[in-house]
Amino acid sequence: MKRIILSLILVSLIAVFAVNSSQAYLSDTETSNSNSTTAGSLNLNLVAGYLSVTDPITASGLTPGGTVSRFVAFQNSGTIAISRVGATSVFLSGFSYLYNKLGLRIYDAPSYVRGALLLDTNLKDLSNYTIWTTLAPLGATTGIRDVEVYLPSDVDGSYQNLTTTWQFNFLGQQ
């Protein structure tokens, strides 16, 4: 009886070995690792010291024909070039009656010196205007414009003592 059991065990082991052997097919693998894609960055900045969130255009006591202006300087601190900067004006508060009447002029301003007049329109009509093109990455260049807001000389007395607040949005695009 003992011999029979040993024989059966031996036969089983041989069978298992045979099955495993039949699964040892040929194979080969090659790898392609470390393929990487990295996005760049695009970051439009308003140069400090000129028109900015913390340094807006403010004017009080303007009379008909009066103006107030500020330089605005753009810089790209990202790694991807900015091909265009769009400018939009948005009314925030106060008298829209006055806001709708204000005029806007944008001048070229190389080296922070007023140059050629580029745009003369109503402030309310400033919508995605191309105020600058091509800003190289990593702050290599600076785009400078002179922004002037004015109260037209033909306004009547109904505009006296009115106040308005608006916002310039500058959008840098790749």
Partner: protein
């Protein structure tokens, strides 16, 4: 009695000799030596080699950018095989967190392993039979199409027949949609792929 026994033994031996003599028929032998049995080889080459292939390392990409990479797969062995593309590994990093990305907002802004690029990047992985980097309907075999983040780490047991000496191509086209936006700024994705040539389709 002893003599009788000896006589019987002598007779028996004589009989044996006689029988042996009657069996000496004509005969001839021929040989078949040198029969050999050799195992074949199954050897996969990737881009003509056996070392890791870094197919693309692209940086400073932006929405709207696209690219392509094609692996040349060759069975340089003597046994026909079947090709699988697995396992696949994928990792993301957010790297830096600049002001536009933070403003999205991006909850993983700047974190290691928290990048958003693979979830905003389309890929098309296919067997490019004619090696033209374009998916040809009816001619090419798709492996995976969709967002890179959706690619599985396993399961592409494609069992693409690759006979001994045959070459095939696998292309990966990628593109970052123009709708991706600032959430991917400076993010990176790293893709690892393993090509396995097996003797059987079931491997």
């Amino acid at each position: 009695m002893k003599r009788i026994v000896l006589s019987l033994i002598v007779l028996a031996l004589a009989g044996s000799v006689a029988i042996g003599a009657t069996r000496a028929y004509f005969s001839d032998t021929e040989t078949s030596t040198g029969n050999t049995f050799s195992a074949g080889t199954l050897d996969l080459n990737l881009d003509s080699g056996n070392t890791n292939v870094v197919k693309f390392t692209v940086s400073n990409k932006a929405p709207g950018d696209t690219g392509t990479g094609t692996w040349t797969i060759k069975n340089v062995g003597t046994v026909n095989g079947f090709l699988d593309v697995q396992p696949i590994t994928l990792s993301d990093d957010d790297n830096n967190c600049n002001e536009p990305e933070a403003a999205v907002p991006d909850a993983t802004c700047g974190s290691v392993g928290g990048g958003d690029l693979s979830a905003n990047m389309n890929v098309d992985l296919f067997v490019d039979a004619n090696n033209n980097t374009i998916y040809d309907v009816g001619g090419d075999t798709p492996i995976y199409t969709g967002l890179l983040s959706g690619i599985a780490t396993a399961g592409y047991d494609s069992s693409i027949a690759l006979n001994a000496g045959a070459t095939n191509y696998i292309t990966l086209n990628w593109g970052i949609p123009t709708t991706a936006g600032n959430i991917i700024q400076s993010d990176s994705s790293t893709l690892g792929m393993t090509f396995e040539l097996g003797q059987t389709a079931a491997q």
